[in-house]
Point group: C2
Amino acid sequence: MTCVRTPAELDAADPLAPHRDLFVGTESDLVYLDGNSLGRPLRVTAERLQRFVTEQWGGRLIRGWDEGWFELPTTLGDRVAEVCLGAAAGQTVVADSTTVMLYKLLRAAVGLRDDVRRTEVVLARDDFPTDRYVAASVAEECGLTLRWLEPADDPAQGVTVEQVEEALGDRTLVVLLSHVAYRSAWVADVEQITAAAHDAGALVLWDLSHSVGALPLHLDAWGVDLAVGCTYKYLDGGPGAPAFAHVAARHHERLTQPLTGWMGHADPFAMGPAYAPAPGVRRLVSGTPPVVGMLAVQDMLDLLAEVGMDAVRAKSTALTQYVVDRAAGLLPETRLASPRDPDRRGGHVTLTHPRMREVTAALWRADVLPDYRDPDGLRLGLSPLTTSFAEVEAGMQRVRAVLDHP
Amino acid sequence: MTCVRTPAELDAADPLAPHRDLFVGTESDLVYLDGNSLGRPLRVTAERLQRFVTEQWGGRLIRGWDEGWFELPTTLGDRVAEVCLGAAAGQTVVADSTTVMLYKLLRAAVGLRDDVRRTEVVLARDDFPTDRYVAASVAEECGLTLRWLEPADDPAQGVTVEQVEEALGDRTLVVLLSHVAYRSAWVADVEQITAAAHDAGALVLWDLSHSVGALPLHLDAWGVDLAVGCTYKYLDGGPGAPAFAHVAARHHERLTQPLTGWMGHADPFAMGPAYAPAPGVRRLVSGTPPVVGMLAVQDMLDLLAEVGMDAVRAKSTALTQYVVDRAAGLLPETRLASPRDPDRRGGHVTLTHPRMREVTAALWRADVLPDYRDPDGLRLGLSPLTTSFAEVEAGMQRVRAVLDHP
């Protein structure tokens, strides 16, 4: 016997449901299913930004640099690490965009190798474009070769440990992969793939953009070398909020990157003749930290710390399971392009259908906001602290209506 | 006969004086002489940021990308170009930090050369650290040589046309210089130096960080190839607001840079297999634009457009002249380390004295905020729209008091 609970019953039983009211716009009828692209703002964030202008920036002026801004890349990095990454302090910075940080970390990987014969970057053909484009760019300038992992026939199937193991060898420099795939939400086995890479003498660089803030991470326990991620998805940092980059402490002594700005210098205000990198992960910082863009994420990190990542993951899994189950009954003509196994499924679900491009456009006109991914994917992003089961149900009902009445 | 006007008289006669009330904190007794490091916020900016969170980010959510955010690097770039740079649209983007943009443009310069024997970067030994460090980094990775312009004995004297001409040759790839020197405020002759570089077959890359928003610029008329600058100094964009980068249209077809993120792709949402650069200057964009950090500068650009850069420069010159004249009488034991010629002097004035480090510390304790630059420089930044003559006088009186009573 299967007991099917209504969305209202599920929301009533959800211990995280009360947090939804803390976010801007959750009182409206709009159905937001794209929190994995841009998270909703917390209501307190509006006030934080206003206060920042009048009190910190306007009131403290240049003194703000001595009173916290200068250290913000590392203090905020440590907070991300503590709340979300399962990593000790001193290994994470927040700065730049994910693209810029990916570039720095790939260049850092080249600098970390002991053996110049290690020239291969292992990466996935269907990974997010920036990861592929930046890898190609670094490969060209550093004389590396890209070793592509080809996608499986099943679009729900992502990179497996076996696939990576087959590609690894004594030429492998670094394995660059996403923890959660941006289309399918496939969860790669970070621990096993990292171990396999290390066994082959290679490094790993994990892109955590679609997992941070949705899945518990254990970077230290997993032995991850390098990682990057976004703060504007599940961390609700606002459009274009800066990236974080993580480098395991054991690599710091030999850590280099080519964007050598004064803010990554060991003694910035000496303004000396030559660049000397700051100790530790601080040397990943290049220019002046984007302080205004680093404000909002602090509110979300506080909330995630209060709730705990295990509770967040439980809600996330319940939401995606709801979509998987409901799609089978309500949208039988669609195909699930995300893993059925909840352990292998991240925070979003992709359903495919030949008409999904026009379906997405019709949904947007009806104030239902999912994302569309070429060629035929409707991507439903379910943000554990802001998405309700009733919202998901309303969105799926609207998909049904659009498919019925184009 | 010299007619000396009191600060109160000068403020009363200043057509820009009423604008001072538009900025946060100008009602307080604090003396702010560091607007060339971090400009004060406009009062309207606090409300803009709050409204952004509740209305645009929170209300429009992911739709914001289609409604202006995606284009913001180029639309905001065009606005900077129109109001401040004297440059036609389509040549300027706002994104990243100044360090990151400097790196991209130096790499772009390497990509633009016709002759691989051009391997020299001409730059100044006493330029801002980031410029020197990034040039050294790019030189190392691209096999370039740095050709240093040595400082003159007089600290007020910056790079001259003759100095650059002597360094130029058929090996010169690019001349990288600051328009306004960060210590002395020396104004380099952009037009003549650019012409000399072109005569030698070289490119110019101007760092406009200390001139944009303080001096009128005419990048198109001057034939400038490449330029970068900050938006958090005289453009009041807030701590760590993103940089702008400018590339003359004639170079766009061959423009390349290695941080190839999806936002600089010709068709980002196709998410295709290989990177194909967007047309024009957009290809300088790498990751997701830092939208929250790009809000404040829009208010200041509106105000600068209203006032006009010639009026801003006139006020700026009057303020720095006041400091030069007053220092001669009130602070005779200090030395002027900025040009006496107002045409060669930017928006700040540096006074040197062996005790300036402790003087600066004492001033800060008294709510007078100038900047200090090693080894002995008190740098007085005078922001044309927020600094009053009375404020400058109060600051200089305090310097007198501190020198008298250590």
